[in-house]
Amino acid sequence: MGASLARAAQWTSVAGSGKGKLELSPMNEKLLNDIIKFIESFSDKHPEEAKYVFKEALTWETSLTSSSFGGGYDIGASQITSQDKDSNGVALLEMDKGTLKVRTLEQAANVIKMAKEKSINEVRMCLEENRDPLVKILGPAFATVDTEDSTVIRMVEKNKTEATEESSLLLRLLLIIQQMDMRLLNSCMQEISKQVRLTPAAVNADVALLQSFAGDSPNTPLKNIQFTSRHVFSNDCRALPWRQVHGDICYVIVDPHDGDSFCVTASTYGCFVNGGFNEEKQEVDFEKKSEVYKDLVTLLREKSNKFAENISKKEFSSHQETQRETDKDTIMTSEQSVENEKEEDSKTEKQMKKQKDTGKKGKAAKDGKKTMKPSLKWKSLEDSRKNEKEETKKKKKRKVFEQIEFKVGVNRYRIQSRKTPQDEEDMSESSDDSEEEEEVQDRRQDAGSDLPSEYWQIQKLVKYLKGGNQTATIIALCSMRDFNLAQETCQLAIRDVGGLEVLINLLDTDENKCKIGSLKILKEISRNVQIRRAIADLGGLQTMVKILQSRNKDLKCLAAETIANVAKFRRARRTVRQHGGIKKLVALLECPPNSTDVSKDVEVARSGALALWSCSKSTKNKHAIRRAGAIPMLAKLLKSPHEEMLIPVVGTLQECASEPSYRLAIRTEGMIEDLVTNLKSSNSELQMHCAAAIFKCAEDGATRDLVREYGGLDPLVSLLPQSDDKELLAAATGAIWKCAISAQNVARFQELKAIEQLVGLLNDQPEDVLVNVVGALGECAQEPANRLVIRKAGGIPSLVHLLTGTNQALLVNVTKAVGACATEPENMSIIDKLDGVRLLWSLLKNQNPEVQASAAWAVCPCIENARDAGEMVRSFVGGLELIVSLLKSSDLEVLASVCAAIANIAKDEENLAVITDHGVVPMLARLASTGNDKLRRHLAEAIARCCTWGNNRVSFGREGAVAPLVGYLRSEDKQVHRSTAQALYQLSRDPDNCITMHENGVVKMLLNMVGSSDNALQEAAAGCIGNIRRLALANEKARYA
């Protein structure tokens, strides 16, 4: 009991400093309860020992009153004594004015019984008064000591020699109490083991882990998590030292998906939400605002439902990623074999069914028909593609990990070098950053290893920079420029010897010469990715942005050019924006009209445009550039005769043209004309940027017309033969693709024989080019004459071959082009010969809904134009099942395209039978409630076709498809009317459907449509009305007959 009380019990004051209080903690409560139980049962179990009189009474202030005492006690006015006395006649229990003295365990048990619910309080008081009860019970010889305790052994020894009644009693009591002590300690251990104290390392690891999960996408556990402070003390804590005394380790700001962000204190005894973090003052309100949780994850689970929900998924995905991947592979193979078996089965089944069907209808043509061999080729194709994709996915994942590692590295570097407030990655930044440079490995040269001689020379120069006046600085700077600054060794040497800090500090001085010298070096070395990051980390961007306002034009130029180099990554671009850099850069674009030094002004404007070009890779910067009024200025500069000026200007425009507002501005500011003019430039880089700008802008119909009007199509086509410059080719073909959306432009392309040239580009080109070439061909092939041209130029085999690719954007375009070509029967026969339909069909399995939809659209003309289409479709094992299952898609375009495909498939009766078996009717019926006109049109078509089989008509009625169909007639779209009327006509052959239609007021609407100029609609509407009328007549007849 002594040991457990001394060690396990949580005392409020430090042990050994006299009287302390027992805290009311769960552990102490458990301890006290155990002691109460022990004492209560003691006199029953060990009656003799219970009567053992203590060496000294246990004394404490009691809360018991005289009324609690019953029989066996002499109750006086202020004194209560027990009737039991010891051998000397002293009462075993005495109470005097609230002070209780107990001398046996039996009496102690009595007290506990009397105190009832207050017993725990009594024991607590008792123990607080008597820190080591054993001393009082057994005598001072038994004081609890931390070192080896030999009292028991001594007792046993003593007992052997002089075995008295008393000493053996004492020994037994001691042993019992020690046993009890052991039990107490054990149970305490269990308690303690549950409460693991947090360490800085554990918190850091938690936060790092969560950071790697955090993100904007809704399936991440939380948006963001970060420390309030970047500074880490030597003991790994981030909290201020005076808070560390309170156990605080660090403070973490959490931004959950649901609810506002909050600040969490991580302390050694757990995590809790505090009063919040004041960003301006960098202060934390330390007050505890929530319960204490054992760690960060537990807290987040409690505070954010979304976190709890996502983390359960995430946890798995991160820890078992690798393992799962291998699992998946094995599962896949086993699945495949199962599938194969299944297919074998269903194949025979289907054949049997087919026989049955044909037999039923009495068609004897079965033997005469050529049966196509079922094949699994298209399936395996898709599988191989999937494997490939998995490979790339794995690679990507690995890359991501590397990136994370790198980021951690950078963070560390940043902390070491300087504390910069609020430079965490801002996730809201534009996602379309084309060439992000995240993959950089931080190569630091170890001192002492073989360093190039430049290293030492540069170190010396940096020393002069640090310790010299302006003159020495300038000599050192000029000398430093003599090194090959394009070489990485020199760049990193400057950084590693601390030169960057000095160079950036120089920018803060008043000496223009020093600033110029420093910027000249920074401009060169900032071509290095690591240097860029280091410059940004050291706060160089802020200073350079300030320099942009300088009156010295050389300085402005150099600063802007350096910014252009540094702002190649996202954080730097944000820094430039946040420090007002965009406005200042835009101001550089202005060439004063009556300037004395024109060439300098052009130089300044050019450097400004260069910097804006770099900055314009972030969406927010694009907006900022526009708001700063850059567009008219860029438009003016676009008319500049200087080529070196035009490239950054067009580059910026091209980059910004991803925003609709810019596209509009480019058109309305009359920049298209200049872009077209510059297409004819002799500089291929300029041509490339112009073509890319047109590529982006030509999404807009009016722009496409302008390009044609200014004669831009000719130079675009003339760029096609330059197949060496792939970037230029990609931009030019992209521009042609977008321009070809307008039919008039297609006509011009025809005249320029562009299609033949495009077909020539279908082979041996990188994917970027292919996507655009195929896109352009797809658009051109909308014109019937061009389909012939494509065939004649031998483009169809190449296109079909591209169907085996994996690039999603390419697949979308290829399927569209193939689909367009397939509308020509002669083309179709080539596609058929090349197994193109099978390839298309296999693309229905692609994960990308765009590819699915595009493939399904392409399948439609194929079925329409192929000979023996029904048989061909049947030969794709599982193909019909697949296309029906696509009706479960949530993508409207996929649904519309699949409905169109089903309408075509259903033309073949046998296939209609098969898809009916696959449950096409209820699936179509479920889609009937859609409001999308495109889907309505094709859905109605599919329903009309499917009605012709068995009792599908009745099924559609039963599935509730009829009433919504009637509603389609109220649509604005004429084509919806036609297909709906046809569907209604088919459905009206079932009397029940007629009733439903009539109830939904179909007659009046159909009557209007009978007057339509569309013959098919007229006919269908009239037929439907006829059916309804006939039913009514029959009804009357039956009633009156």
Binding site: L461, N469, I475, C478, S479
Partner: protein, 203 residues
Amino acid sequence: MSKKNQKLAEELYKTSCQKHFTKTEVESLIICYKNLLEGLKMDRNLFRDILHQKFNMTEDLLMDRVFRAFDKDSDSYISLTEWVEGLSVFLRGTLDEKMEYTFTVFDLNGDGYISREEMFQMLKTCLVKQPTEEDPDEGIKDLVEIALKKMDHDHDSRLSKKDFKDAVLIEPLLLEAFGKCLPDEKSSEIFEYHVLGVKQCRG
């Protein structure tokens, strides 16, 4: 008084070889010269005070050299003509004029070459002395070598005027390679504003 100045200015404007100041500006310079003199002659000390106060120059050696460069007839006084002509290069000189001027300043003994020793003289004070270093002049010597390597194109261990000019044309920052002997933009702007009434141009 002012009429006299006008006359003087006209005369000076005609006779002196400067071409950067207008007639009125010359007149302002004359007024400024007279105000500074307060009836005395402009000797070395007064000129050094002006350099120090108006143009932030601090180095004794170079201020002396600047005085010598202004004092073309070497009579230890700066005459009015020397004042105007000197300031013409000082404030508004072309690069070529400035190169001539700075070379004269840096060529301490006037032998047409800047020698190692001269460089050492001029750079002596430009490094913070590190008490830990054994040879406190080592850094200076090294700087001299660096400068020589950078500028001595004909490798004769000294800078001829041609060496100097070639180096400055390649790297304009080297114009004041061995010390500040031209006003910085800010102080020259302020001087022009106060003395000549030239508006500070923004931007």
